[in-house]
């Protein structure tokens, strides 16, 4: 899910960086001091989650956890993911510094979308919680896959064949992420339901 350095064209990189800068500005504005601890822990979780490889069949993918991150943090997902991705590119050489903007946007934007789509349902309709949380985890990875395919497609047409595979190949991760998100949300609602209140 990390785009390496030197793959994307300059316009795509600049657009990604600008969108990420905007998202991060909004996120930092919305990030209260009370949420800093949560943001830090979720940032650490995101940072480490990429090392948990899910080997299904011949492909090996990793967890992203951007769904649960978006549900709890909303727009603050942008700065949190930016920090974690920066550290991943420095320590693990995943992605790269120039593609940081695009990568952050690809992963954080689905989080914010999931926040608006599922937050209300999870907070107010208790009976739907599990289904909504599963859908949140599932769709957040789906969103990343679509954005990843889109950014590759915008750069070079011949990436298209591979791009169309991305969604399909990440199908197992979407399901696993959905299950993990469902479990996390159920757990948080039992232990500290105030976490979902803004």
């Amino acid at each position: 899910m990390h785009i390496s350095e030197g793959v994307l064209s300059a316009p795509v990189l600049v657009t990604g960086a600008l969108l990420t800068a905007g998202g991060t500005a909004i996120g930092l504005k919305k990030l209260d001091f009370e949420k800093i601890a949560q943001a830090g822990i979720l940032s650490s979780a995101f940072f480490v989650a990429s090392l948990i490889h899910v080997n299904i069949g011949p492909s090996s993918t990793h967890l992203i956890l951007n769904g649960i991150l978006g549900l709890i943090l909303g727009w603050a997902a942008f700065p949190v993911i930016l920090v974690a991705l920066t550290l991943q590119s420095l320590f693990f050489q995943f992605g790269g510094i120039t593609s940081l903007g695009v990568n952050t946007f690809n992963m954080a934007f689905p989080s914010v979308l999931c926040f608006y789509l599922f937050r209300y349902v999870i907070v107010h309709k208790k009976s739907m919680t599990t289904i909504a949380a599963f859908a949140c985890g599932f769709l957040s990875v789906f969103g990343v896959a679509v954005l990843l395919g889109g950014s590759l497609y915008l750069t070079e047409q011949n990436f298209w064949e591979i791009s169309s595979f991305i969604v399909m190949i990440n199908f197992p991760v979407m399901i696993i992420e959905g299950i993990i998100t469902a479990f996390c949300v159920r757990f948080i609602q039992k232990v500290s339901p105030e976490m979902f209140q803004l």
């Binding site: 001091f33 480490v48 011949p58 492909s59 090996s60 693990f92 595979f165």
Partner: protein, 196 residues
């Protein structure tokens, strides 16, 4: 309903290299050939990935596809510094620069060898010695090359200190934001004290 199930089964079957986050390409000169080996972080071979070879001016000299072992070999296209770029799909890219010095040490091509040898010696025999020598060197070199590859793969794996370092940075940022927050609060308090 059958469509998602079908795609899921398909996604389990298609042997593509996906989402390993980082690829490495390693190239070395052997005789008149350049061999490359491509792996994902964690040691998985990059199968059926595109390999491009560029000269120092950035002109594409040739391209090819790695085989089932992530390997791709090609004859030396020209004696300049070569940049070998691997594109393993989904935004994965790696490169290896082969410096001129490594290319200069290659043995002379066979036709030059034949010219310099005495007319009495049969070229065929010469060639067989040459190939024998090459296979012997290959055999001796194989463990070294494998060890180098293993070392490179090992290096590409994140270590425990990397993980702890990253988490440490995040905790540090949390501390920094707490510091800024409380400094503002202290300033507000001291301002209100001054007013009183």
């Amino acid at each position: 309903m059958t469509v998602p199930i079908f795609t899921m089964i398909l996604s389990l079957l298609i042997p593509l290299n996906v989402c390993a986050h980082r690829v490495n390409i390693f190239a070395w000169v052997d005789g008149n050939q350049i061999h490359t080996e491509s792996t994902f972080s964690g040691g998985k071979k990059a199968k059926h990935a595109q390999v491009y070879v560029y000269d120092p001016q950035g002109k594409e000299l040739l391209k090819g596809t790695t085989d089932g072992n992530g390997q791709f070999s090609f004859p030396i296209p020209q004696k300049t510094e070569l940049t070998i770029v691997l594109q393993a799909g989904m935004g994965h890219r790696a490169q290896w620069v082969l410096p001129l010095e490594e290319l200069e040490n290659i043995p002379l091509p066979k036709n030059i060898l034949e010219k310099t040898t005495k007319p009495s010696s049969k070229p065929k025999k010469m060639e067989s010695i040459d190939t024998q020598l090459e296979t012997a060197i290959d055999k001796k070199m194989a463990p070294i090359v494998q060890k180098l590859n293993a070392l490179l793969a090992e290096k590409s794996k994140p270590s425990f200190s990397d993980i702890m370092g990253g988490i440490g940075y995040i905790l540090g940022l949390m501390g920094l934001s707490a510091y800024i927050h409380y400094r503002q609060k202290l300033r507000q308090i001291s301002e209100s004290d001054n007013k009183v």
